[in-house]
Symmetry: C2
Subunit: 447 residues, 2 copies
């Protein structure tokens, strides 16, 4: 595992910076301090966004193949108009009756399997996962949470404590157990389900014999932080069954895969043919407006709602709701999922072609427009693979394309453009990607 | 203590409802379920807001003396214009350089004592308190948190576990200790500081002898959920010193008192002449846009930032920042604090006059535009006082004025209008309040 807290980041002094950016960074460090890490060796400075593009103060354009929050593209005029129109009318909280909240809740629930018929709104994906853990612990009576070995689920105290991705500096809960994905262990597809289920069953036994009990299996169905290990479809079904037998709840963290990222489905868990007990939403829900939700089955949601007094001041306010409503309308009306399928296949074929012709790619995995691309030359050490991935990310940044890294060793590229990515953007990305890979690969090839 | 999760709420069947509202509530219950409680016996239904007023679908106006989130008034056109203008330009995250984020962070820090020189943004007050607890626990090495007996600090798992206000159904952390406020125990002002300090010292001893250690004293400086117990100024100073001696951090939860609510100061802790280690912000910061922050001293903020990888997807995005920047500009430019002082004194005098002439008021406390008014006739039982407060809140609602209840017994009125409340609103409120109190008091007076 990489011990760097964030490999793709700015380190003072590593590369020379223009005076304008150096001055801004000095001011920034003085008030925001160490928590605020900038991406790239040479940080990017943006003042304008539009669709797939971000622009720096000199009006240089960067193709955004990284940001999954503005999934309808930067500064979507229709989304922004809906937000502004509602803000001018009323920003009501949920203690008052307001039809717009109910309308959207119904429309959102309609995109889920019928068993999932309740929603509670939040402001962030972290709040969604935090609330889902509260519900699961209350309903199950257990405390234990099972996650994958490099999972990241958010930033609240309870959620950070079940996010091994945060590294050794952030204490894990004594009640969390980690399980390995079949893909990262090289397990063949035919054995993947049995392998994963066996690990989850072992974790359950350990939690039970220590009196901790099982609250939940919490997973992101495309396992984005583990390196985008998505296949074979359905490999988590046995584990889901095991957790339910033990009285635990199944929580699908859809903050990354949800709202059509995978193209094939609105929700990532659908790929695996399961219906979770709780589903958590965030990032693209409002195309950038802070809004999230927990969608769940009737019984656990009602049990929690009747027992605990839960309120969230900003969550479900009508401005966020109107914004999210516009996002859902556009996703459906513009058939964004179909476009994601088409463009992601084009990107996949293009990346396969690059991999066949240029050295440096060890594997490519994708679910729709979320790609994990393993970097490294044959026989390169983990540290060399990580360095090469980082060089590639920075070469692309210098050529005006934004991506970053992922996986336990941080040697996989994380590529996830806004969902409005079209063929022309895919082709431009592929051309620049090929050029950058050729350059970086030659630098790592022994003369 | 009241055992009702939320006394001022709608209970199906208690009063007849118009068909339009009954139908909307049925739809709402079907998707949002039990977590979503409506205020008032007869819920209010709003479709439009402007300044101090909210309007129902029949265009009936309600004077808002309750909502402390839109502190500049509902649908403030300048705030909304700043939000819309920024949303049309760029919604950048904090991994990229963007001058607006730095500008606002500097302006915000300038409103604090010099020792508080760092800020980390969040999306909600709950996220702010959750993060502050993470920082305090990391820096102190302790786990114990000291709060007041009826404190509410938010809704995440870690924060709900130190919020006794949530009632018996929400488990408290084994690491939290509750201390009583001198005011609720009837302690005279001259002994208040010693009384409070002694309780905090006893809590510290208990936490230490159990090996839990002291992470923080966490308090809202106007003690809003305990019933607005604010006097005498400075009574918390000895407790603050005791916590620091024990290696704990002092966290001022400014979600309610902050941004000028008290009129005398921008921040509530200033009333007590102390400088906290961490300060948490939320509610009015964006006049409704989901934004919060932790402001803190250099050492703990840097220690956390360098140790843990903390990121919050939506927090610090330039749309929220531009919105909060507009709020701060208007607060300062329009001298809102001076207006709060003037109008709150007028309200206080008016309430004192009502109390002198109409039976039913047992006490009045305020810090600026946050009032706690104890309701009850001489010799009435706690349950009668609670019922009378609830009747009064509902009588005012029926007369087009919004307030609610607070305190351990829920027999105090919570009155906190937007900060743009003017003399004319205060006078209108006082007239309707007097009439409602007369009506309710006579119903509770033996014939």
């Amino acid at each position: 595992m990489s011990t760097d807290l964030m490999p793709n980041r700015f380190r003072p002094g590593e590369v020379p910076l223009p005076a304008r950016e150096a001055a801004l960074i000095a001011r920034r460090d003085a008030v925001l301090g160490a928590s605020y890490r900038l991406q790239y060796r040479k940080p990017v400075h943006f003042v304008r966004g539009e669709g797939m593009w971000l622009y720096d103060p000199d009006d240089r354009a960067y193709l955004d193949f990284y940001n999954n929050v503005p999934s309808l593209g930067h500064c979507h005029p229709e989304v922004n108009a809906a937000m502004a129109e509602q803000a001018a009318r009323i920003s009501a909280n949920t203690r008052y009756l307001e039809p717009r909240l109910v309308d959207y809740a119904e429309r959102l629930i309609d995109t889920f399997p019928a068993q999932l018929d309740r929603v509670v709104f939040t402001c962030t994906g972290s709040e969604s996962n935090d609330l889902a853990l509260r519900i699961a612990r209350l309903v199950s009576g257990g405390e234990g949470v099972i996650v994958t070995s490099y999972a990241y689920h958010g930033t609240s105290a309870a959620v950070a404590a079940v996010s091994p991705n945060l590294g050794a500096a952030v204490n894990l809960s004594p009640f969390v157990r980690m399980v390995t994905l079949p893909g990262t262990d090289g397990v063949a597809d035919a054995q993947a389900g049995a392998f994963f289920e066996a690990q989850v069953r072992a974790a359950i036994v350990d939690l039970q014999r220590r009196g901790i009990g099982v609250a939940a299996l919490l997973f992101d169905s495309i396992f984005s932080s583990d390196g985008v290990w998505i296949d074979p479809p359905g490999f988590i079904a046995g584990a889901v069954e095991a957790v339910r037998e033990a009285g635990g709840l199944v929580i699908a963290d859809e903050v990354q895969p949800g709202f059509g990222r995978t193209g094939a489905h609105m929700w990532g868990f659908e790929r695996h043919g399961i219906v979770p007990d709780l589903v958590t939403l965030g990032k693209p829900m409002g195309n950038g407006f802070p809004i999230g939700a927990v969608v769940g089955r009737h019984a656990p949601m009602e049990r929690f709602g009747q027992t605990a007094r839960y309120s969230n001041t900003f969550a479900g306010n009508t401005v966020g709701i109107a914004t999210a409503d516009a996002v859902l309308t556009i996703l459906q009306r513009d058939r964004i999922l179909e476009s994601v399928m088409r463009v992601s296949q084009r990107l996949r074929h293009g990346l396969d072609a690059v991999a066949a012709e240029v050295p440096g790619i060890r594997g490519i995995r994708n679910a729709g427009l979320f790609f994990g691309v393993d970097i490294g030359l044959p026989d390169s050490l983990p540290s060399q693979r990580r360095a090469m991935a980082l060089d590639l990310v920075n070469a692309l940044r210098d050529d005006g394309v934004l991506i970053s890294t992922t996986s336990a060793n941080e040697d996989a590229l994380k590529i996830r453009p806004p969902l409005v990515c079209q063929d022309e953007h895919a082709d431009l990305f592929l051309a620049r990607f090929r050029a950058a890979l050729e350059k970086v690969a030659s630098a790592y090839t022994p003369a």
